[in-house]
Each structure stands twice: as C-alpha cells, then as structure tokens.
C-alpha cells in the first residue's frame, strides 16, 4: 500500500542498517560498558521530601566508610559552579528562573533533588556510604496541583516571589477583537479541558556518565549517554568555567533518548567537577528508580481549548489557555516546550487570523519537565484533534467529514498560515483517503450501527487524527524570534580518502535513528559509491567539533541535507580536477555513477577514485586548487519541515470491565521523500506505541505530598509487546520543496498522531452511552468510572 517515489540506486531502498551487527552481538559499547581503570563512583543523596529546608548535612560517617574518597553537601561544592544549571530558552524577558545548582544548598524542591554526594572506589561502597549521610530536613508544604501553583497560595521559591515562571501569548488577529467577534458570530462553539498527564520518558538505557580528566594535559573528556554532546560541551564548559577547547564530550552508543537525554544534568556536572577536583575519573550510572525521579518528565499541561465554527463547520477562531507544569526547576529547554505547540492548535486546518493562545507556566514540587518525544506538538495535536471530535459531535456530522471540510487544500501550498509560518507542502485529503481505505472506514461505521446497540457489552469505536509535525528545528532566525538560546543549523564534512573510501562527519548525534545507514545512503547516491564504502563519524566533539545534535526530528531535514550539500561541494571540486586532467571545460563534464565524463565523448572520463588519488598526491592539480578532496557545510534551513498524515485507530471497549482492545491501527504518514522506508516505518511504529502508551497506560503519579508513586518499571506501565497492537503503515509522498532531498522529519510523527487517535476511538465507542471525554491514561478503572458517571452512576 506504500506509494513510493522514483529513485535511482540506493536512495529510497529498505537497506539494512549498518549499526545492527555491533548492537546485535554485544560489541557496541554504551557508557556504562566503558572500562575506565581507577574511576571513582558517584552516588547522590536525594531529598525524600518534595519541599524541605535543608537544616544540616553530616557526611562524617559516610567519609569514614571503607572505600570512600569524599562526601560533600551542596554547600561544600557551591564554589565549584561558575553558574547555575543552564536553561537555554528564556522564552520571555521577564521569565523567572530560580537558581538551580547540581546539589541543593538550602532547600530541596522535589523528591529526588540531589542534596549531597559520595565518591568511592566501588559503586557498592558509594551506595552504602550514601545511606550514612545524615541530612536533617525541615519539611515544607509542597505544591503539586497546577492551579494551586498558579494561585501562589504557597510560593515554592522564595527568591522569585511567585510560582509563575512566565506567561507567553500569541494573539493573531486581522483586527483587534476578531477572536471575540468570531466566537460571538459562530454557529457552533465547543469548549473543552484536557489534561496532559506527566509522563516518564523511560529510555531503556539509564543515564550513565564517566568524566575522565587529564590533570597534566588540562583536558577533560566527558562520556555521557546524551543526545547532545555538542550542546553539552558548551554548557559544561560554561557552568564549570572550563575553557571550551579543553572540554571534549563523547556520546558512545546511546540507548534511546526521546528527549530525556536532551539535557544538562546535575550528575554530568558533578562527575566533571569532582573529576577535576580529585584528578581522577568519576563515573555514575543511574538506577531506574533514580531515573524515574531525577531524569526529566514529559507533558504536564492543563489545556483549555475553544473552537468557533460557522454553519458549515469551518473553523473561524481558536482560543487556547494553557497551564504548563515546569516542575521544580527549569532544565535546558523546559520553558520552550509549550511554545513548540503554540503554532499547532489549529492543526492541519484553515484558520483565519483569529487565534488567541496564552500559556502560563508554573513551578511545582515535582521532577522538572522538559522535551519529551514531540515536545509541545503532541499536546497541541491532542487538544485540536479531540476538540474537532467534540465539534463534530456538536454539529452531528462524521469527524472525518468535519476534518475534510477544514483541511488546508493541497493547491494552496506552500501555505501561509495564520501565524505567518509557511507550511512547505501538504496533501491532507490524500493521506486521509488512504488511511480510510486501509482501515475500512465505511465498513466500521456500518458495523457500529449493528454492534453498538442498547445493552451491547463490547462497543466498537474508530478514532481519527490528523497532524502536522512542524519539525526539523529549525531556521535560526525563527528560533531567535522565540528567544531560543542557540541556532538551528547543522554541520557536515564529507572527506574522500585517497583510496576513494568516504568519511562523513556529522553534527547529528544518533541514539537509535540509524544515521550511519541513512547518511551513507545519501552519500552513496550523491557520489556514486557503495554505502559500505562510507563511514559516518559522529557524537565525539573532537571528531565532529561543530554540531547541534539530534532532537526535534531535525537530523535528516537539517543534518542529512547538510551532507548532501557537502557532497555537492566535493563534486564541484572534483569537477575542477577532472576538467584539468581531461583537458576539458568543467561545464562540459557530467557526473554520474561515480565518474566524470566529457559530454558527447564517453571515452573521455575519470572516476572519482582517480580524482581522489590525484587530490591526495597533489602532483597535478589546477593552479591555486588546494590538495585533498574534502568539503564542509553548515546548513541553516530556510523553514521548518512540515510532515503530516492521518492515523486511524479501531477499538472495542468492554463496558462492563472498562477494558480496551485495539483491533486495528493504521498510520498514513507523509514525510516527503524517504531515504530508507525501513527506518521510516520503524520510527513510526515506535512513536505510535509511545503515544498509545500515553493514551492507555502511562502516568507519573504523585501523591499530594509530592511522592512519586510510579518510580519503578514495575509501577510505571511502559507497555510490553503483549499490550499493544500491530500497525499498518501507509505513506503518501509529498516532497518538501525547501531542501534538495525533498525530505521532512519523521521521528515524532507517531507520538504526535497516536494519542488523540486512540482516545478519539475510545470516546467514539462510548458516545452512545453519553461519554464525551476520557481522561488519560484510559485504564480499565478510569473507563469504567467514566461510563458509570455518564450513565448517571446507575450502571
């Protein structure tokens, strides 16, 4: 069912991944696998209280424990920090950002906040000694509820005087008052509240860190299970006052991230600072329970959304009010997450300039939140896609029909949206039509009529969601307008070695995405070499000094395109050498199949291999041309990329037990041209299950005192194979016109689309019982109570 585009050679094929043999045999090395002789082990003592004054910290017993090298309170180490932990996204000029140190000094602000640490010769000794650190706390009232936080009834951080970090508005009107007028004139309006529960990213590899100093050389190497070695290098250098050129960060094999490793963490700073202080390597590997508490959480929003529509169901205005849960502190991009969604609350629909968005983000006494797969965009898509179903129910038309009436028409692309952003390309009707065909939409609607009758025990539902991904972060100037602290470019080097083997250096930092394979395919296609002859170097700031790493589905649309551009530069230089050697005009040379040929004279040709060797010996190069065949590019994309699609989910709900069975899941995603459809489908599958997990299983549950009730994988329900369905994937291909590969991102699409598709299906199944909404996760208990309440508690 996949519609594919024409390609030549390897590009667009389901080439098997180069990464796999090492990962399949245990040869790959994750950070915790690295053997570093003489390394000390760090253990962190964490607050058991969600909010408490630190009265005293006594480390004497810990220091006396066998094998312990040192033990420190937060106050002991306060001098080591040149600055507080970094937040790179001050979204407003007056954003409040309480100082956040790697170890708290006077007050702990969430359960898991580090207050002291131990370094010892073995991990066991460090852990045992950590138990001996005596911290006296004075527990303070904790703030857990978001609306309570807004009220400032209890202010968490005295020094900023409020729990509100910022309020960020995006109001777009042709004329002042348009939004209010549209609501007043609307034939239909809906107003809904949705809760984005907190989620734990739960990458399967826990975080792990080793800091290795070179006391005499002055350099510091930090190995970390991170998505962002380049950004981390800059941030660690700044926070610890280490000259940046002496700081090297290496991300070995990294076992998944989903945003949770897109950060600068206290333990990274502690390992580096203590390695410097003690002139010895220091390492730390998180336990899962620690990770659940002290690695960032995702989502955590209250969303109030209102839609106004005319008599045909066409949207005339959208109003959104958010409360964002920042958690106890601002981590690297915490405050920016709601902003990434701010542009997407009208989904893939035409909306006049009548949009009113406002987000107030608050501190709470819970684990800091930050970007989690999709970051803002799943939240926005959930709200609009749920609200569209609510609008369809209000009007009394089919939800798919309502969407079709509102889709941005294909012939209006590139489409300037109400926000001023330009959507690159789209074909929403095409994706929806294919999805409806694959799922058998009409047949299911027909079956519902016979199945969902009064007294039916198992009710059938189908849920639709359509989406934009808005990814490939991003044009640097757009990021600047949002106050983001860095650019959105990516760097690439393509180096043709003397023997015509290719080294590619990328600033992207893969952790499961298959960049080594995909980048090899791009180079193979460009240069006419075999993918096996390409080696991709990454994730080591000494080898790839420039880069902005992997997040926001940016790697292919920015980093991959940079590689194609670097290949073009290589070809340009090779052309000059070939022209010189063949005594031809460079413009008369055609490059195909890895060789330059003089147009019209097939016998006058020179393969890249020969050119590479000439470039290396430099015996006979054109005057003024530098030896060697290598090119570097930094690419700043002119636009975001706008992947889109339609997902449909079919469920049966047992109204007596509240159990949900997913019968079928269909995903039609359009990410433009596909470099490797095998990898695209893998990204889609994984994303869908993560989004489905939000819908049905996962929630980071805190009690009213701020204790995390789901701090292990036994309590936090990451779904297993037996909990989830198979997935039918289909694709339409609408190339992006903004880059030469015609590609878009695909890393977050599944997560963005699936949560509303699943909940829409559940609500659809139960609509005959008066159910209009469903809190997440829709556990059997929750579903049962919602049905019961809808039936007036009489069932």
């Amino acid at each position: 069912m996949t519609m594919t585009h024409e390609t030549t050679g390897v590009l667009g094929t389901r080439m098997l991944r180069k990464e796999d043999p090492a990962l399949l045999t245990g040869e790959a090395r994750f950070t915790a696998d690295l053997a570093i002789p003489g390394a000390l082990h760090l253990a962190v003592i964490r607050s058991p209280y969600a909010r408490a004054r630190i009265v005293s910290v006594d480390t004497s017993a810990a220091r006396a424990h066998a094998g312990v090298r040192a033990a420190y309170s937060g106050a002991d180490l306060a001098d080591l920090w040149a600055g507080p932990m970094p937040c790179a996204w001050p979204v407003t000029a007056d954003m409040k950002n309480p100082a956040h140190l790697p170890l708290a000094v006077s007050q702990a602000n969430y359960v898991g906040d580090g207050v002291a640490c131990v370094i010892a010769e073995t991990a066991e000794a460090a852990r045992d000694a950590a138990e001996l650190v005596d911290v006296v706390y004075e527990p303070l009232e904790a703030v857990i509820d978001l609306e309570d936080a807004v009220s400032d009834r209890v202010v968490i951080h005295d020094e900023i005087g409020t729990n509100k970090s910022y309020t960020w508005d995006l109001k777009v009107e042709e004329q002042e008052g348009d939004v209010d007028a549209a609501f007043a004139a609307a034939t239909y309006t809906v107003k809904e509240r949705y809760i984005q529960q907190r989620l734990i990213p739960a990458a399967m590899e826990p975080r792990a860190i080793v800091a290795v100093p070179q006391p005499f050389g002055g350099d510091m190497t930090l190995y970390s299970a991170t998505q962002i070695p380049h950004i981390l290098k800059v941030m660690v250098a700044l926070t610890l006052g280490i000259p940046e050129h002496q700081m090297r960060v290496i991300a070995p094999s990294v076992g998944g991230g989903f945003g949770s490793k897109l950060n600068v963490y206290a333990e990274e700073l502690l390992c580096v600072a203590l390695a410097r202080k003690h002139n010895l390597p220091v390492r730390w590997t998180e336990t899962r329970s620690e990770g659940c508490q002290a690695t960032i959480h995702g989502r955590g929003q209250i969303q109030d959304i209102e839609l106004a529509a005319d008599a045909n169901g066409r949207l005339t205005a959208v109003r959104v009010r958010l409360i964002g849960d920042m958690g106890a502190y601002l981590q690297l991009v915490t405050p920016g997450v709601p902003l990434l969604g701010a542009f997407l609350y009208a989904g893939v629909y035409e909306l006049p300039k009548a949009y009113d968005f406002s987000c107030t983000s608050v501190f709470t006494n819970m684990t800091p939140t930050d970007a989690y797969r999709g970051a803002g965009r799943p939240e926005a898509t959930y709200a609009i896609e749920r609200a569209m179903d609510s609008l369809a129910a209000t009007i009394g038309i089919d939800p798919l029909e309502l969407r079709r009436r509102n889709f941005i028409p294909t012939d209006k692309y590139p489409y300037e949206a109400f926000t001023g952003l330009v959507y690159d390309s789209g074909n929403h009707d095409g994706a929806a039509t294919l999805a409806a065909e694959l799922v058998g939409y009409d047949a299911i609607r027909a079956q519902q009529k016979t199945q969902n009758v009064d007294g039916a025990k198992r009710r059938l539902g189908i849920g639709v969601s359509t989406y934009f991904e808005m990814c490939g972060l991003a044009p640097s100037r757009v990021l600047a307008s949002l106050n983001y602290g860095a650019g959105g470019w990516e760097a690439a080097t393509v180096r043709v070695l003397p023997t015509n083997k290719i080294q590619v250096v990328t600033g992207a930092s893969p952790h499961g995405q298959g960049h080594e394979t995909a980048w090899s395919m791009i180079v193979a296609d460009k240069l006419g070499v075999a993918p096996e002859d390409v080696d991709v170097l990454h994730s080591d700031t000494a080898i790839s000094p420039l880069g902005l790493d992997t997040y926001g589905s940016r790697s292919l649309a920015v980093g991959g395109v940079a590689i194609a551009m670097a290949c073009d530069k290589v070809i340009d230089k090779a052309r000059e050498i070939a022209a010189h050697q063949l005594e031809a005009n460079p413009d008369d040379l055609e490059f195909a199949g890895g060789a330059f040929t003089v147009a019209g004279s097939p016998d006058r040709s020179m393969p890249l291999a020969a050119i590479a060797f000439e470039a290396f010996t430099a015996h006979n190069l054109p005057d003024g041309l530098e030896p060697n065949l290598e090119a570097h590019t930094t690419y700043d994309p002119p636009n975001f990329s706008w992947p889109f699609g339609t997902h449909m989910c079919v469920v049966e709900v047992d109204v007596e037990t509240g159990e949900i069975e997913v019968l079928k899941y269909v995903a039609v995603d359009d990410c433009g041209n596909q470099v490797n459809p095998l990898i695209v489908d893998g990204q889609v599958h994984g994303g869908i299950i993560q989004g489905l997990a939000q819908a049905l299983f996962e929630e980071a549950v805190f009690d009213s005192d701020g204790n995390l009730r789901t701090s292990t994988l036994a309590d936090y329900l990451v779904p297993a194979a037996s909990d989830v369905p198979s997935i039918v994937t289909g694709h339409t291909v609408t190339p992006s016109p903004t880059n030469q590969l015609g590609v878009k991102g695909v890393g977050e699409a599944g997560t963005i689309a699936s949560t509303p598709a699943v909940i829409n299906a559940v609500v659809d199944a139960l609509s005959g019982l008066g159910v209009r909404n469903m809190p997440m996760p829709a556990s059997p208990n929750t579903v049962w109570s919602v049905i019961n309440a809808a039936q007036g508690g009489s069932q």
């Binding site: 090492a22 990962l23 399967m204 292990t712 994988l713 297993a720 194979a721 198979s726 997935i727 599944g750």
Partner: protein, 152 residues
Amino acid sequence: MEISITINGKAVSADVEPRTLLVQFIRETAGLTGTNIGCDTSSCGACSIHLDGEAVKSCTILAAQADGGSVTTIEGLASADGTLHPMQQAFMENHGLQCGYCTPGMVMAATSLLNDIPNPSEEDVRIGLEGNLCRCTGYHNIVQAVLACANK
C-alpha cells in the same frame, strides 16, 4: 565466596560477595558488557541470558546461585566465524532494533521462546516476550523478526 560459571563455553571463576548478582558477574567479572541493565525491579528483561538453556533475567539471581552452571550471553550467540545466529539475522532483516539497548535481552528471550514454541502465532510471540521491554520499536518489527526466524 569462590564460584565458577561457564560463560559462552569458558569457565570463569572468581571470589564474589554473596550479594553479587549474576548480571554483575557477567558484566564486571567476565567483562561481557553485551548484557544490559535497564531496571532494578526485574521488569525490563534487558539482562536476559540463558542459564542452563533457559532464558532468565540475570538481575534476578545471585551469581552464587549460578555456581557450576552454564550461561550463554549475547556474545556467545553468533558463530565463531562471525555468522550471526538466525535470530540476530532476523532482527537485522526486520529492523527489530533501533537503539539496541533492549536487543541482547530481547534476542536471548526470543531464541528461548522458539525453543519452547517452534511455530508460534503472533500472539504467542507477544505474550512470550512480555517480560522484555523495548522503548524504540513499538515491538512491531521485533514480533515480525521472531516470526520470520521461526519460519526459516
């Protein structure tokens, strides 16, 4: 206490603390780091290995309990000549791994599953692997890989 465990055909002896877990013995004493640790509640299966032919989570047993036993880890699965085990090959061909962190445990659990049920249904595979978590793949391609391996 002094124990000896045969790992991938080679005897490994060491003096270990009674609290040493089998997974620690494999990773730290034998230096075989292909077996991963993903949790502290026996929930994730990243540490799955074969002990005397059965898949077990090596974080759930003490090294001492495996004294005298025979362990196969992911490093022992491919042939000496470098040919991947059919299950490893099937994972590769079906894109059953992304980050690869769950993969060693998943592959060990899957080979054991086929020992018990040579011709599993999709449901058999999904239930058989329910003790192994993967955050990347959504399981779809893992299930396809196991079914493909069974059908070879």
